[in-house]
Amino acid sequence: MRALTIAATGMSAQQMRVETISNNLANMNTTGYNARRAEFSDMSYQQLARAGTISSADGTVLPTGVQLGLGVRPSSVTVQLAQGSLSQTGGDLDVAIEGNGYLEVTLPSGQSGYTRDGALKRAADGQVVTSDGYPVVPDITIPEDARSISINAEGELYAYFNDRVEPELMGQLTLANFSNAKGLEAIGGNLFLETGASGAANVGVPGENGLGTLRQGYLEDSSVDAVREVTELIEAQRGYELNAKVITAADQMLAATTQLR
């Protein structure tokens, strides 16, 4: 009775969909978060009668044969890369990326991490770091006596001092882009790691080679669309019920069989 196990694969697929949706909804207000979408594909097929099998002595063949599917499996959970809307925060180290690209940070392990969360902060020594305290690449240090700072669209960070009219260039933020940004590995904390699937990081100046530009005083909102997620949730819930119904039906058919004398 394969119908039981097939319907079970259907139920676990819908359950995984609900898990993806709940993670999206939980991250509705996470800076720079992109919604995920679970993709499914059918499993292998059981060949009962292969198409092209000779069906008579005259050499006629079965045009389509009989194939029965064995259920569903998750094929991928993909990041729906989309620009989130920008919220004005007024923070002088809040930078939103408009367009493609990720800020590069150095993780405690020494590895490079990538993030779209531009809520940068100043460490005790003036170094520009992320909210978790990881330094941004390239290293930029803001002097203690800087009156204010400004970051332009190309990522150039200028510091203004009380005793000078002209601002001083402290460094330039760079962005990294990937051939396949969907192939990055999410490690939480709004951070991603490079993988074999993503390709190597192409680091460049914002605004060049297809990279986005930076906007000071803004943060990128989560790109989760609550309405879409809730409609998907309803679909997933009904899908789950339908598969449960198949299990009940298959069970009743089995019961009828066992009750035969």
Partner: protein, 238 residues
């Protein structure tokens, strides 16, 4: 003489297969580009000797793939493509070229457009499609022409099997066409949409109830048959 039980048995095993098809359809209700499958029963006639009437049994002989268009869901993804109308995308797998309607693609590390299983998507000339990594915006015209920042880079090919009945299903919502494929015209491709499964839950549940009740009917028949033989044995054995 006692073949009525066997005839019912062929029907019962067939119904089991049909329930399996229904279960598979419902399990794939959220599978992008999935095509509903059905089982068609045919009469299988067994000749009996000595002027007896022939015996007709039911066998599941043909598979039926519903080629109706599934509903389109907007995802907004740059590389999410849905076909409106007939046709399939052509992808290159290790076991040969395969057709699919699941248009969820992504560029890989080398910049080639691939499916989520990592197989290259082919253009209208049968060549892989390369996406320039520094492209800012990729757009797709209805005829499948992809352009990066306004410059055309490739045209996604749409194909159809030479023999539509000769399609074999494979896992990963792929179809193999033994007779080969040919380009198709007249369909359009939409960017930012994916085609959902074309399984209609209402008709599947109706079919499931029908299968279930037919199965019960068969079981009742077998029960009655059993009773009849029992009473024959009791009467004659007295």
């Amino acid at each position: 003489m006692e073949s009525s039980g066997y005839v019912t048995l062929t029907r019962q095993t067939g119904l089991m297969k049909e329930l399996q098809a229904v279960a598979n359809n419902l399990a794939n209700i959220s599978t992008t580009g999935f095509r509903k499958e059905g089982v068609i029963f045919a009469e299988h006639i067994e000749r009996l000797g000595n002027g007896e009437a022939s015996l007709s049994m039911a066998t599941a002989s043909v598979r039926n793939t519903d080629s109706r268009q599934g509903p389109l869901t907007q995802t907004g993804g740059t590389f999410d493509f849905a076909i409106e109308g007939e046709g399939f995308f052509l992808i290159d797998t290790p076991s040969g070229e395969r057709l699919t309607r699941a248009g969820v693609f992504t560029p890989n590390a080398e910049g080639e457009l691939v499916t989520m299983s990592g197989y290259q998507v082919l253009d209208n000339g049968g060549a892989p499609i390369f996406i320039p990594p520094d492209a800012e915006a990729i757009s797709l015209a209805a005829d499948g022409t992809m352009s990066a920042d306004g410059l055309p880079i490739a045209q996604i090919g749409l194909y159809q099997p030479v023999d539509p009945t000769g399609l074999t299903r494979e896992d990963g919502v792929r179809f193999a066409s033994e007779a080969g494929v040919e380009p198709i015209e007249g369909a359009s491709i939409l960017q930012g949409f994916v085609e959902d499964s074309n399984v209609d839950p209402v008709s599947e549940i109706a079919r499931m109830i029908e299968v279930q009740r037919s199965y019960e009917l068969g079981q009742t028949f077998l029960d009655k048959e059993d009773e009849r033989i029992r009473s024959v044995l009791q009467t004659l054995g007295r």
